[in-house]
């Protein structure tokens, strides 16, 4: 077990190194930063000065080396567009994305797992079929489309909720949060629902598939033969058994929700990092793209490590395998 985790840690380091090279080379291939940095009529001597200042005349590997060196100093460069340190720019917007992502993922988990268990427990009931129909919709309909419909219905036609922005925020621990104000919630609820629907569908399907399989297993039959009630069987046996795959997928989905926040943030004008990255891709803001991708890669690698650890904690067969 320890060996497995150490191995994963080593792999994570290798992955980060490889990712940084790929990302750097990829981002380098996009467009010409001079077009962004300078007006087209800029004279040649200013061009040369800018090239020199940003080190664009040096060979690629040297630029990469410099980038990595600076990265370890905590310096990820300055945005071409905002002329602000990238790190500051990203961390300024991160809380908005995090609260959006966590609200939707936790919502999807809390609602999706019980629905999925029910659908797996009574696969032929009408309610189960209805749940599955909803999950197929949630799974199929593109996030951006659901976002549009939500705005059209609740903001435009009904006028119940605002269509964009974060609303009032409260400073907690030096960071602005929407989740602590009523107005913040009214702004959060549509984008969070939007982002959650796809995850909800996945949670339902996962819980349903797991429950169906477990319910047919001898473990459940044996528990029934011991006179244990259905409620206890679901709470103690089924939930525990399906929690292992759910925890794994939950971790992975946390990462992918972060990525999908890009779409939702664009639609709901939610001032998070997703919006930032789309703008930076469209504006060819290299340092922001670079930093976002490196940070995201780091985040995914960390999540994967945590998932491995949680997996080992949940499954005693793994945990004790190498115990002395």
């Amino acid at each position: 077990m320890t060996g497995f985790l150490i191995q994963r840690l080593l792999q994570a380091i290798v992955i980060m190194a490889v990712m940084s090279v790929i990302v750097f080379a990829g981002v380098y291939a996009i467009g010409n930063p001079l077009e962004v940095l300078l007006p087209p009529e800029a004279p040649q001597d200013i061009r040369d000065a800018v090239i020199k200042r940003f080190g664009l005349d040096r060979p690629l590997w040297e630029q990469y080396g410099l980038y990595i060196y600076n990265l370890f100093q905590g310096d990820l460069g300055r945005s071409y567009i905002y002329n602000e340190p990238v790190l500051q720019l990203i961390f300024g917007r991160l809380p908005a994305t995090i609260e959006l992502v966590l609200t939707s993922v936790i919502g999807a988990l809390v609602i999706g797992v019980p629905l999925g268990i029910w659908a797996g427990y009574r696969p032929n009931a009408f309610s189960s079929r209805a749940i599955m129909a909803v999950s197929i919709l949630g799974f199929s309909v593109p996030t951006f489309w659901i976002g549009l419909i939500l705005i059209l219905t609740f903001a435009v036609n009904l006028g119940w909720l605002p269509s964009g922005g974060r609303g009032d925020t409260v400073e907690v621990l030096g960071v602005a949060w929407s989740v602590f104000t009523l107005d913040g919630w009214s702004h959060l609820i549509l984008p969070a629902t939007n982002l959650a629907l796809f995850k909800l569908a996945i949670m339902i399907r996962l819980a349903r598939a797991g429950t169906r399989e477990v319910m047919l297993s001898d473990t459940v039959k044996f528990a029934r033969a011991a006179g244990i009630s259905e409620g206890t069987i679901i709470r103690r046996h089924v939930l525990k058994l399906i929690s292992i795959p759910i925890a794994t997928v939950f971790g992975l989905e946390l990462g992918s929700t972060l990525a999908f926040a890009v779409v939702t943030e664009t639609i709901f004008a939610w001032p998070g990092v997703g919006k930032l990255i789309i703008d930076s891709i469209q504006n060819l803001d290299r340092p922001v793209m670079m930093a976002y991708l490196i940070l995201t890669a780091g985040l995914f690698v960390t999540i994967n490590l945590v998932v491995d650890l949680v997996y080992a904690l949940l499954d005693p067969r793994l945990r004790r395998r190498a115990a002395p």
Binding site: I15, V141, P142, F144, G255, A259, Q282, L293, A297
Partner: protein, 298 residues
């Protein structure tokens, strides 16, 4: 072989179809998929208007509601968009683009992914661990992010989009092919083939691949649907196809600014077409998965 007994042989394929037709919803979904594919294929012949022919458009017809009779003298059943395009025609052509992209991306990803997965499962050892590490790494990355970055790197266009989608999706096929082939590999009939002995190529192509195919088909349906959705999403974000060849996502995106002023049809009809297509594909895939799941078979 004696002819008398031949018709009584029931192939796994026929068994599969007879079970497939037991579910009415899945059959209906399959019909929808086929109809949509036919409509997309026949778009140049059945669409009232060629939406790519900018000369044939008139701004006088722009943003007209469904049922409007335009300057062309025919009814715009689903209305017109901001450029005065007949929406029905635009949707048919958009469907064509979406399905083309979905199938192209799905087919290429299937081929590459299956090759990687089967090679890894058959080769074992170092090749296996390197290939599958790369695949796992990619799987932990959301495809949308990968596609987003790739489109940014490669630029816009059908080819570029397909490349981006394939890169984002092949890993799912590789994982599935690897899983299925490893499971099959461990079965006695593969060991029996090795013990005969039969050549490695024969074992892979005659035994492993055909038996891994059902699982791959399920993934293929889901991934084609996903590719279509992803393409629409990228187009919606303005990173997909060029404006000259609007896909469904682009049509939706173009209509968004008119949505708030009540001209909802410009976005909604392409959206409905997109959703029906994706839901139908997923319903078919779901049912196929249920049939093929050996653990639920009684």
């Amino acid at each position: 072989m004696t002819d008398a007994s031949a018709p009584r042989a029931i192939s796994p394929f026929r068994r599969f179809w007879s079970r497939f037709f037991e579910d009415r919803i899945a059959v209906a979904a399959l019909i929808v998929v086929i109809v949509f594919a036919a409509l997309a294929f026949l778009a140049p012949w059945i669409a009232p208007q060629d939406p790519y022919d900018l000369a044939g458009l008139s701004l006088r017809d722009a943003r007209r509601p469904p049922g409007y009779v335009g300057s062309g003298g025919y009814v715009h059943w689903l209305g017109t968009d901001a450029q005065g395009r007949d929406l029905l025609s635009a949707i048919l052509y958009g469907l064509r683009v979406s399905i083309q992209i979905g199938i192209a991306a799905g087919a290429v990803a299937l081929t590459i992914g299956t090759t990687v997965g089967i090679v890894a499962a058959y080769a074992r050892g170092f090749t296996e661990s390197v290939l599958m590490r790369v695949v796992d790494l990619q799987l932990s990355f959301p495809p949308i992010l990968l596609a987003l970055v790739l489109v940014a790197v490669l630029g816009q266009g059908k080819m570029q989009l397909v490349v981006a989608l394939v890169t984002a999706q092949y890993a799912y096929f590789a994982r599935t092919a690897y899983g299925a082939a490893s499971a099959e590999r461990a079965k006695d009939y593969v060991e029996a083939a090795a013990a005969t002995p039969l050549s490695g190529a024969r074992i892979v192509f005659r035994h492993l691949l055909p038996n891994a195919m059902p699982a791959l088909i399920v993934v293929a349906t889901v991934q084609i649907a996903y590719a279509i959705a992803l393409e629409a999403t990228l187009s919606f974000l303005g990173l997909g196809l060029p404006v000259t060849e609007p896909s469904l996502g682009m049509l939706i995106s173009n209509g968004v600014k008119y949505m708030m002023s009540g001209r909802t049809w410009i976005s909604v009809y392409p959206g409905i077409a997109l959703i029906i297509l994706i839901v139908a594909i997923n319903l078919v895939g779901d049912h196929v998965r249920d049939i093929l799941n050996p653990r639920l078979e009684k």
